[in-house]
């Protein structure tokens, strides 16, 4: 089961490029065009990444996450959550680049192949920046009464987080 993941990226790229060639797309030109957009969007998020990574490493060094983690750990233990992942779970729905910085921190301090590292990565991959999406989509068309949106979206996030712990436990231990 572990190896399936290793094939995903090469196969996906292979199929996409092959398809492009068959359809007579000028593959390299189009690739360059997309790559340029990639540089631009990295450039656009660079200032916030620098700010947030510094802020997160300061918070971490100050012991704030340990305090927070200690406070919630009884509940977390009960549910089988690794304590190190809690800051990510709290930040994920609020800030995309913020949670990216936290994920990076969890991965480097616990190891990418540790239980906590894997759970954090799966959690990051299976949920979205819920509040950002809600704000952008409703904001764009001027909707103010959003009824049950937040409740449903947060339930989905929580379900994703629980499944992240369960699946990592199932596949990797």
């Amino acid at each position: 089961m572990n190896n399936i993941g290793a094939f995903v990226l090469p196969i996906a790229i292979g199929i996409i490029v092959l398809f492009g060639i068959l359809k007579r797309v000028p593959v390299f030109d189009v690739f360059l065009q997309g790559a340029r957009e990639g540089i631009l969007s990295t450039y656009r998020i660079a200032p916030s990444i620098v700010g947030l990574v510094v802020a997160v490493s300061m918070l971490n060094a100050s012991g704030a996450f340990q305090l927070l983690g200690n406070a919630i750990s009884p509940v977390a233990d009960f549910l089988g959550f690794p304590t190190q992942v809690l800051p990510l779970m709290l930040l994920r729905p609020v800030s995309g680049s913020g949670s990216l910085a936290v994920l990076n921190d969890i991965l480097t301090s616990n190891g990418a192949d540790s239980f906590a590292g894997r759970v954090a990565a799966v959690m990051m991959g299976s949920t979205e920046t819920t509040f950002y999406a809600i704000a952008v989509y409703y904001g764009a068309i001027g909707i103010k009464k959003i009824r049950h949106t937040v409740a449903a979206a947060l339930c989905a996030d929580f379900a994703g987080a629980v499944m992240a712990v369960l699946t990592v436990r199932l596949f990797f231990s």
Binding site: N3, I4, G5, A6, V8, L9, A12, I13, I15, I16, F19, G20, K23, V25, G34, A35, E37, G38, I39, S41, T42, I49, V53, V54, S57, A61, S62, A64, L67, N104, L107, T108, G111, R118, A121, V122, G125, S126, E128, T129, T130, A133, V136, Y137, A140, I143, K144, K145, R147, H148, A151, A152, A156, D157, A159, G160, M163, A164, T167, F171
Partner: protein
């Protein structure tokens, strides 16, 4: 940042915080450089997918499912195709492309919405789909894991699929239940 400084005084970790400011700055640039290369590569590949027509094939596959979720727009081809392209872009991890497409879909739905300041059921379903979307290839996460020394950075992909599919199903179910309640 202020919080960290205050806490560090109480916890006696001010020295560590000061180190973190310097090392954090360096870490952020490391992170950006790794991200830059992969963002370039992946955006380029996805452009090929778009031009080669893979994106539109995928949206044709999802049409029947989406028609079930958005019954009001089944016959409104413009709206349902906007919804389709947004879902496909999310699936392929094209975050930058997904948002403008999603806003387009929301605008189309708003046109037929009788109460302009209140979200209708389809809009809520659409936003929930977007907050719990499945990503086939979680590139950014794999980059970070690779940088942190993972043996096989993509080995978490099956877990990501299962977890996000589950989150999505829970989201859809709860949205449907709450629709009926209020």
């Amino acid at each position: 940042m202020v919080v960290s400084v205050v806490i560090s005084f109480f916890m006696g970790t001010t020295g560590a915080v000061s180190d973190a400011i310097i090392s954090g700055g360096k870490a952020s640039i490391d992170l950006l450089i790794t991200m830059l290369s992969m963002m370039c590569l992946w955006n380029g590949i996805m452009k090929i997918a778009e031009f080669g027509g893979i994106t539109s094939i995928l949206s044709r596959i999802f049409a029947p499912v989406l028609n079930k979720l958005f019954p009001n727009y089944k016959h409104d081809i413009e709206t349902s195709s906007a919804i389709c392209s947004n879902v496909t872009a999310n699936l392929l991890g094209l975050g930058n492309a997904a948002t403008p497409l999603g806003i387009e879909a929301m605008k189309r739905m708003q046109k037929a919405n009788p109460q302009k300041d209140t979200a209708n059921n389809s809009m809520i379903m659409f936003v929930v789909l977007n907050t719990a979307s499945i990503q086939l290839v979680p590139t950014t996460i794999a980059i970070l894991r690779d940088k942190a020394g993972a043996v096989s950075p993509m080995d978490i992909v099956p877990c990501v699929w299962i977890s996000s599919l589950f989150a999505l199903l829970v989201g859809i179910t709860i949205t449907r239940l709450l629709e009926k309640g209020g």
